[in-house]
Amino acid sequence: MAIIIDENTKAIVQGITGGQGRFHTKAMKDYGTNIVAGVTPGKGGNSVEDIPVYDSISEVPNDINASIIFVPAPFAKDAALEAIDFGLNPVVIITERIPIHDSIQIMKKAESKGIDVIGPNTPGIISPEKSKMGVMPSHVFSQGSVGLISRSGTLTYEIANNLSRAGLGQSTTVGLGGDPVVGLSFVDVLKKFDKDDQTKAVVLVGEIGGNAEETAAKFIKDSFSKPVVAYIAGRTAPPGKRMGHAGAIVSGGMGTADSKIAALGEGGVDVAELPSDVVRLLKEKM
């Protein structure tokens, strides 16, 4: 199995004609992702990497079921709402710097239609050897039984690389996105991993800001039985400063790494002190 995307995923790329869109369309196609069409308003009739480009999703003649969005922030809300209106699922939003009020509107619409949004500001999602909808370097991922969920980009590649080298392949890796308001949460993805036969254990990579990790800890304690190991970045981040991600900020005493580590501990999750400890802790648990 795997979750959310697999060999049946038939994706479009919104914003396929931009620099990022082109580059990663090729990378995804090379990886084996079934990219059916591209959409960029005003560029209908062109093609990118032999993939036909349309002005809007409704013009795509093929059967499609997922979208990945590279559209610049000022237009990303429009693109996401179009994908959601069209019922594509999941909608992966790579775009960074989308205003929060826009994201709130996107998420509300997606909720009302039961659609999974991944991101914004995410590296995307990869189910190794099946499908990749994202910008992650494919070579660090390998197929296996570890579900990986992360709010980070490069740190995720670091950990996936460690896992792969240690023979711990992944079922699916989901980048939740570094923004304060994102689509799928740790809990949403944990629920999917719970039902996924391929997934035997989960690695959760969190960071400061918000309380998504605390909520996940409670969920794991109450209703998640597979082994979970976590790493939390930002133990030493000062309050009130955004640490690279818009969502990585300790404010009003909320969102500290300590709070997250304590909650996860109570939830029975082993929390690694160093990224390199994740593999060891996971092997102990599996």
């Binding site: 922030a73 000022p74 710097r97 205003p99 929060i100 009020h101 994201s103 709130i104 509300k108 909720e111 009302s112 910008v135 992650m136 370097p137 070579h139 660090v140 992360s150 709010r151 980070s152 980009g153 490069t154 740190l155 995720t156 590649y157 670091e158 690389n161 570094g178 304060p180 308001v181 949460s185 990579v205 960071e207 400061i208 800001g209 918000g210 309380n211 998504a212 909520t215 790493y231 970045a233 930002g234 133990r235 030493t236 981040a237 000062p238 009130g240 400063k241 640490m243 690279g244 991600h245 818009a246 969502g247 990585a248 009003g252 005493g253 790494a257 002190e273 160093l274 990224p275 390199s276």
Partner: protein, 370 residues
């Protein structure tokens, strides 16, 4: 983007929210006449201004000038006071709280109201949860006025006062929405004999929305919220935060850089900064990053932590060799074009570590003069 109190009040007032009459001065002599007693409020973009002595009172012009002068000589949490807001001191009968924030978990904007204003709302919420009411706003429904009325009643308001508060909340909601705010807060919203008064005002605008708020965007570039190096980093498109240690840190990806800081700490070191060159950084990005980091006084070593995914290790290595920092560096490099990168560094006399841990330890030793 944090706005100064005076700016937030100006905006609130434009939306019909009552605020005290006041004058903004950057020199005591700008104050010619005023209706005393007055409150003198230093305008700095940090919290805890009151406790730090940044708010004073004056009963007449001479006293006011003297105290404004004192304030303008102060530094609050490292920020020099450059502006003082002089306001008429109101007779406060009661202090309320009204504010809008983004609830990350609910993915909704939330209205918060409390019968206890003038103090930290989070503290009130923990101490007396019954005094704080919250309402999640469904973006397709908006915030119906009758919902505000019901919340206002729950915190014990009634009659004309309740109606006035509901009016203020409606206007504040419009500010919050029009300004793409992450926080719009009136605390305290004072009840005075003359009616409601927004005695303190906070407005925090989403940085990512500034392309929709061109006027604010201009001010953001020169905001005192940031140090000079932070401003230069912004111009260079790098994500940079100034910290208090002595080891400069450069990495690719926010999570990895945070992990780098944490690792330093674990081994007894302290980072001087957080610098994320981003994914797919070029030689030039790396040069700019090093240029920024060495500008900070007291940086004794630099810890460079690269995991090459989209980023190519050889590009990073070229940037390092090109800039050739005088400050000693410790490099950890792994992933795409790892061998090429390492070779370039070794050829130029730099050593490269295999793991984050090793490299972090090396950076600490270098900082200690080792």
């Amino acid at each position: 983007m944090k706005l100064h109190e005076y700016k937030a009040k100006e905006i609130f007032s434009n939306y019909g929210i009552p605020v005290p009459s006041g004058i903004l001065v950057k020199d005591p002599n700008e104050l010619k006449e005023f209706k005393f007693p007055a409150v003198l409020k230093s305008q700095v973009l940090v919290g805890g201004r009151g406790k730090a002595g940044g708010i004073k009172f004056a009963d007449n012009l001479d006293e006011a000038k003297e105290k404004i002068d004192e304030l303008l000589k102060m530094e609050i949490k490292g920020l020099p006071v450059k502006l003082v807001l002089v306001e008429a001191k109101a007779e406060i009968l009661k202090e309320l709280y009204v504010g809008f924030v983004v609830d990350r978990t609910a993915k909704r904007n939330v209205l918060i109201m409390s019968s206890e204003g003038g103090v930290n709302i989070e503290e009130v919420a923990q101490r007396s949860p019954d005094k704080v009411v919250k309402f999640q706003i469904d973006p397709s429904e908006g915030l119906p006025t009758h919902k505000i009325t019901n919340l206002a009643k729950k915190i014990g308001l009634k009659g004309k006062e309740m109606v006035s508060v509901v009016g203020v909340v409606n206007r504040l909601n419009k500010v919050f929405s029009d300004y793409d705010a992450e926080l719009a807060e009136i605390n305290p919203l004072a009840v005075t004999p003359e009616g409601l008064l927004g005695v303190d005002a906070k407005l925090l605008v989403d940085d990512n929305s500034l392309y929709r708020h061109k006027d604010l965007a201009k001010e953001f570039a020169k905001s005192e919220e940031f140090t000079d190096i932070e401003k230069r980093a912004k111009d260079a498109g790098l994500s940079y935060v100034e910290l208090e240690g002595d080891i400069g840190v450069i990495g690719c990806g926010a999570g990895l850089v945070m992990a780098s800081l944490d690792t330093l700490k674990l081994y007894g070191g302290a980072a001087a900064n957080f610098l994320d060159v981003g994914g797919g950084a070029t030689k030039e990005n790396m040069r700019s990053a090093l240029e920024l980091v060495v500008q900070k006084e007291g940086v004794k070593s630099i810890f460079i932590n690269i995991f090459g995914g989209i980023t190519r290790c050889d590009e990073i290595a070229k940037g390092i060799v090109d800039f050739a920092p005088k400050t000693p560096i410790s490099v950890r490099m792994m992933g795409t074009n790892e061998e090429e990168g390492k070779q370039i560094l070794r050829d130029n006399g730099y050593s490269v570590s295999e793991t984050i841990e090793e490299s972090a330890k090396e950076a600490i030793e270098l900082a200690r003069g080792g």
